[in-house]
Symmetry: C2
Subunit: 155 residues, 2 copies
DNA sequence: GACATTTAGTTTCATATGTAACTATTTATG
DNA sequence: CATAAATAGTTACATATGAAACTAAATGTC
C-alpha cells in the first residue's frame, strides 16, 4: 500500500515541457547545422530572410513580431545579413526611425535556393505523419500555445 | 495562372520546426522563470535535481543521458547545486573517475517542494487537452522524434 | 608491467544571448 | 511651440553556452 504522504514521482522523460524541449532542440540543431553548412546563415538570419523575402520593405520591429525574435536579435541578424550583402536597408520617408528592409539580388538568389530546401526538409520531417496526423498535431499545438501564452497567469 | 518557376512560398508561421521552437521556448521560459523565482534554480539545475532525486547515486554521465544535457552543462549545474548545498558528491569506490551524486537534506526538501509544483504546472498546461489528446500528442511527438533523431540522415 | 587508448569530468576560450542603457526620431500634452 | 512620453533601433555589458583542450583514472595491448 503506497504511502500517500510521500512526494509524488516525477519522471523527467514523461514530462511534457521536457519532451517538447528535447524534440524542438533536436530539430532546431539539425536545421541550424544545415543552414550554416550550406549558406553560412544562423537560424535567426534565415528567419529574417524568410520574412523579408515574403514581405519586402518590412521593418525590423515587424520582423520581430513575425518571427518571435526580440529586437536585439533582429538587429544583429540584420546587421550580419547586410554585412554579407544579402539584405539592404532604406530608411522610411514617413518615419525617420524606421527602416525598410529588402533582399539584395544576392540575397534573393540565396532565398530562392534555401526556400525549396527548407520546404523539402519540413516535408521530410513531416513525412512520418499522415495528413490527418499533421492537422491534429497543429491543432494540439495551438491548444497548448493558448494554454502557455505569456500573458496568461499559470495558476 | 501561377508561374510554376517562381520560388514556392514559405510561411514561417506555418513551418513546423518554427512552430515547435516557439511553443517550446514559450513554455520553457515560463518554467525557467518560475523555478528561478521560487528556488533560485536554472532549468538545468532543476533537471539535475529531478533525476538525482529519482535515482540517488547517479553519475554525471548518466545525468547527461537522462536529461539530454551535454557533460559541460551537467558539470556546471552540479557545481552550482553543490555550492548552494542541494547536492553532495561522493567518489565511487569502484571507479575513481566517476562520482556519485545525492541530494542533501536541504536539496531533498527543495525537491519535495518543487516536484508537486512541477506536476501541477504540467497539469495546468495539459488541462486544455483531453486524455485522448494527450496520448495522441505523445504518439505524434514520438513519431517526429524518430524522424528527427540526430543519427538519421535527412535526405 | 609499460604504453597507448578510452572514459569521466573540469576548465578554458571564444561566441551567443538577454537586459538595460542609450541615440534618434516621432507623437502627445500643456 | 516647448517639453514630456513613446517608439525604432543600436550598443554595451554581463552571463550563458558549446567546442576543444585538459586532468585523472581505468582499460586494453604488447
Amino acid at each position: 500500500m503506497p504511502d500517500p504522504s510521500r512526494t509524488p514521482q516525477l519522471r523527467l522523460r514523461e514530462f511534457l515541457p521536457y519532451r517538447l524541449s528535447v524534440l524542438s532542440n533536436t530539430i532546431s540543431r539539425r536545421i541550424a547545422e544545415l543552414y550554416d553548412r550550406e549558406f553560412g546563415l544562423t537560424i535567426w538570419q534565415w528567419r529574417v530572410m524568410a520574412v523579408t523575402g515574403d514581405a519586402p520593405g518590412i521593418s525590423a520591429t515587424e520582423i520581430g513580431q513575425r518571427t518571435a525574435m526580440d529586437k536585439v536579435a533582429v538587429s544583429r541578424a540584420v546587421a550580419g545579413l547586410i554585412e554579407v550583402g544579402y539584405l539592404e536597408r532604406k530608411s522610411s520617408e514617413e518615419d525617420g526611425r524606421r527602416s525598410k528592409l529588402y533582399l539584395t539580388p544576392a540575397g534573393t538568389s540565396v532565398y530562392d535556393e534555401i526556400v525549396p530546401m527548407a520546404i523539402a526538409e519540413e516535408q521530410a520531417l513531416e513525412a512520418v505523419l499522415t495528413p490527418e496526423e499533421r492537422v491534429e498535431l497543429t491543432r494540439l499545438m495551438e491548444k497548448l500555445a493558448g494554454s502557455a501564452s505569456p500573458d496568461r497567469p499559470l495558476w
